[in-house]
């Protein structure tokens, strides 16, 4: 067991290192740099070059990587080239909103897909099943960007039910109950957008898994013994959800990537919006910081889901 954990750790760190080095070069290969993000006839070329030198951007790429990596080992993630703040501070400011949005989306997706999956497996082939398939597929097919704007137009502007964008009403005292309630109201639409887009896959997996289990011999025997249908379903569900543990680990990167779009649309102050801005302004230290955090989350997520898979399914444990 300990050996397996160590193996896992080593391969995780390896993946992290490779991703970091590769993305460092990839990011810097894109044309442009943080100083020349715009041109202004009032700016002089000499000034631009001097600022680049001050920021060390005139150095060869391997040297920049060496320096950045050295600092990183000492726990220094560098300083943002746009806001001149330490990258760790910049990230810390945005982590909470992103985690809130991503985790609640994940939670909603898990609960809803379980219900929808069971319902559509139970009444497979009926109009309910077909309705669910239609709705979830449409949710998958609609770009979240567009769906978000449509939802704002109807729910927020036309019916005035929910706020259009942002995180909380800026005029409320931070930390108050009203403020917390305001966050919940602001969360509703981005949450709905993210959830609708993520329903289709897991629902299909559940439906397929349950249907497959229901056809297996042990459940056939159970049915023959006269077990009521809902009891049989409960047994099927347990075994059908095994592959989902693995899928969950794979959903994580998708959710993080999806939050980039959703955060931009709803002006949600999280990592996604930060990432989009940093990419356009070539804020290398911040971009690298986001990449490291996302890679770490994905590596950890995968490790967790593997480990969970082993824990719930003895067969996986034996084969590995």
């Amino acid at each position: 067991m300990i050996r397996r954990v160590i193996q896992r750790l080593v391969s995780g760190i390896g993946a992290l290192l490779v991703t970091i080095v590769l993305s460092f070069f990839l990011i810097h290969l894109a044309p442009g740099d943080p100083v020349t993000t715009f041109i202004d006839p009032g700016m002089s070329v000499a000034d631009i070059e001097r600022v680049k030198q001050n920021l060390g951007l005139d150095r060869p790429l391997y040297e920049q990587l060496w320096r950045w990596g050295g600092q990183l080992l000492q726990g220094n993630w560098g300083v943002s080239t746009t806001s001149h703040q330490p990258v760790t501070t910049v990230l810390a400011d945005r982590v909470l909103p992103t985690l809130l949005l991503t985790c609640s989306t994940l939670g909603c997706i898990l609960i809803l897909t379980l219900i929808l999956g069971v319902v559509s497996a139970y009444w497979a082939g009926s109009w309910v099943d077909r309705g669910i398939a239609l709705v979830t597929t449409v949710g998958l097919a609609i770009p979240s960007f567009w769906l978000g704007i449509v939802l704002i137009g109807w729910v927020s502007v036309r019916w005035n039910l929910l706020p259009a964008s942002g995180y909380a009403d800026p005029m409320l005292p931070v930390g108050s109950w009203e403020w917390t309630g305001s966050i919940a109201q602001h969360l509703a639409l981005p949450l709905l957008t993210g959830t609708l887009g993520g329903l289709a896959m897991l629902t299909r997996y559940y439906r397929h898994g349950i249907r497959k289990e229901m056809g297996s011999l042990y459940l056939l025997a159970a049915q023959a013994r006269g077990l009521p249908r809902h009891r049989v379903l409960a047994h099927a569900l347990k075994n059908a959800s095994l592959p989902l543990v693995t899928l969950l680990g794979m959903e994580l990167p998708g959710l993080l990537a999806g939050s980039y779009m959703i955060e931009s649309v709803f002006a949600w102050p999280g990592l996604g919006q930060l990432g989009v801005n940093a990419a356009f302004s070539r804020d290398y230290p911040v971009l690298m910081g986001i990449l490291m955090v996302s890679t770490l989350l994905i590596v950890v997520g995968n490790a967790l889901s593997d480990w969970l898979g082993q824990w719930v399914d003895p067969r996986v444990r034996r084969s590995s």
């Binding site: 894109a30 044309p31 442009g32 740099d33 100083v35 020349t36 993000t37 715009f38 041109i39 202004d40 006839p41 009032g42 700016m43 002089s44 070329v45 000034d47 631009i48 001097r50 600022v51 001050n54 300083v79 746009t82 806001s83 001149h84 703040q85 910049v90 945005r94 704007i149 704002i152 137009g153 927020s156 502007v157 019916w159 005035n160 039910l161 929910l162 706020p163 259009a164 964008s165 942002g166 995180y167 909380a168 009403d169 800026p170 005029m171 409320l172 109201q185 931009s264 649309v265 002006a267 949600w268 102050p269 999280g270 919006q273 930060l274 989009v276 801005n277 356009f280 302004s281 070539r282």
Partner: protein
């Protein structure tokens, strides 16, 4: 249920009374005027800080922290007399020491500012000194007229920043200024909140709070405006005007922007180095149609590289009219032959170009498509190449000579001073913003002499000549001067007359009903 929810959702009047809510399209980077390079940051900073001088609605210089100034020694000496009894937001008195500190920090090579060379003349730094606490003397190595306009640089507090690292100090996110509003909170990617400065030297603001909400997506900002979550939205698409004005609380104002759009000719291109070819291309395009199709009529055709609102705008310019027949005869005159395939050729080389357009803006690609059709009808082939903004910049402002483009579509936003050195002086190629490679000795001389005299009437004559010459040489195909469409909530009072300086020039008089 719907009623209940909307009941507690609607902006309650206690929350929004005396609160002005504006939209920022992007997260500000830093609130230190010396380091700012983005419009979001400068929109916020301009409310927190003041300069020695500022611009009024007509973009004329008026006193701010200086009550008046005297130019002497043939334009080599500027003396600014500072306003007394001005305090920083923390109560500390404002003196000439702060002014010196600001300009000395700007000139320090370690400061990551792109404004340093604004305060250098021919490579020599301008000297700043203070005979007493309320006088600042600026000494120049030679007369330099554009400097006066640059004295609007916002002043930062010496007592707070002396001896600190200006590039990274916490001040940059918690600024202290002398402006009408003082810093309150900044929630990253969410909002920046400022509160009124009761001791503002221009009069206590009527507003209590100024809130900048960060909403990157235009359609979402439009929804926020309609919902009443923001009070002003700049840059409304003309197509949205009916949707906005249908709402009773909203009205729309339009005003000229201080910029012009153009298509630049790479003058090092063998075809484009011939002025006849460039003229033929200008004659081929009906720019009034472009104003209609791209700006939906909110703009006017440009003929010279300066805004018609400027005192340096030459009144007598002979516009190059839309005349495809003249295009054809000019090309013939230039030695081109039109072949069976419909295109023009010279020395077996087809008259064909690629135009670079930035992907970001909507106007660029649309302009290019319209021009493509006009050029095709006179036998000039145009290929459109869209590029991501940074890649685009690298091509046109890189150090290469010649540069790897034929044509490019861009806009210049101008400073209120007409000095055109960085765009048109031949020394600004290949490194610099004269990326088309324009070179005209007479224009160089005029631009140089325009910097030496302070008298506006004399300068106006110099620039009229320079801009007329540039227009004759057609290094650009000037497109248009766009107008901004801005939607405003009627609950606001005290807005300034609409103009390129925006609506908030006299922010201390703005209030809500």
């Amino acid at each position: 249920m719907a009623m209940l929810v909307s009941g507690c959702m609607g902006p309650s009047s206690t929350h929004t009374q005396h609160v002005l809510r504006l939209r920022l399209a992007g997260e500000p980077s830093v609130l230190n005027p010396l380091l700012i390079t983005d419009t979001g940051s400068s929109a916020v900073a301009s409310q927190v800080f003041s300069g020695l001088v500022r611009f009024n609605e007509h973009l004329q210089l008026v006193p701010d922290l200086a009550t008046h100034w005297v130019i002497s020694d043939g334009g080599k000496r500027l003396t600014f007399y500072l306003r007394r009894n001005v305090t920083w937001h923390d109560g500390h008195p404002f003196t000439s020491r702060d002014v010196l500190f600001t300009f000395h920090t700007l000139l320090d090579p370690r400061t990551n500012t792109v404004r340093r060379s604004d305060y250098m003349v021919n490579g020599k730094p301008i000297r700043f000194s203070a005979p007493d606490a309320h006088t600042v003397v600026v000494t120049l190595p030679q007369p330099f007229a554009p400097l006066l306009y640059r004295m609007g640089m916002e002043i930062i507090p010496a007592h707070r920043l002396q001896g600190k690292d200006i590039n990274t100090d916490a001040f940059n996110r918690h600024p202290i200024g002398t402006g009408p509003f003082q810093f309150d909170t900044w929630r990253p990617n969410h909002y920046v909140k400022l509160k009124a400065n009761p001791h503002y030297h221009g009069g206590k603001p009527r507003l209590k709070t100024l809130l900048f909400r960060i909403i990157p997506e235009y359609n979402v900002a439009k929804s926020a405006l309609i919902k009443g979550d923001i009070d002003i939205l700049e840059g409304v698409s003309p197509l949205d005007i009916p949707a906005v004005t249908r709402r009773p609380p909203l009205r729309v104002v339009t005003y000229d922007e201080w910029l012009y759009s153009y298509m630049g000719f790479n003058l090092k291109n063998p075809h484009l180095s011939n002025p006849l070819v460039r003229r033929a291309m200008v004659h081929a395009v009906d720019r009034t149609v472009m104003v209609k199709a791209v700006l939906y009529g909110h703009g006017r055709v440009a003929h010279v590289p300066i805004s018609p609102l400027s005192w340096a705008y030459p009144r007598q310019v002979t516009p190059i009219s839309f005349d495809p027949n003249t295009s054809l005869s000019l090309l013939k005159q230039a030695g081109y032959v039109r072949r069976q395939d419909g295109w023009w050729y010279k020395d077996n080389r087809r008259l064909a170009f690629t135009v670079l357009v930035s992907k970001g803006g909507k106007a660029g690609p649309k302009n290019a498509e319209i021009m493509q059709r006009y050029f095709k009808s006179v036998g000039i082939q145009l290929t459109i190449q869209q590029m991501e903004w940074q890649a685009f910049l690298k091509v046109i402002t890189g150090p290469d000579d010649p540069k790897a483009f034929d044509l490019c579509i861009l806009s210049w936003s101008l400073s209120p001073d007409p000095d055109a050195y960085s765009i048109w002086h031949s020394s600004q190629y290949p490194k610099g913003f004269n990326f088309v490679g324009y070179r005209n000795q007479r224009v160089d001389q005029l631009i140089e002499s325009g910097r030496l005299v302070n008298d506006q009437a004399t300068r106006a004559r110099i620039y009229h000549d320079a801009f007329r010459l540039i227009a004759q040489d057609t290094p650009y195909l000037f497109l248009y001067y766009p107008r901004t469409v801005t939607a405003v909530n009627r609950r606001l009072t005290g807005l300034s007359q609409p103009g390129p300086a925006g609506l908030l020039v006299n922010i201390e008089q703005v209030d809500t009903k």
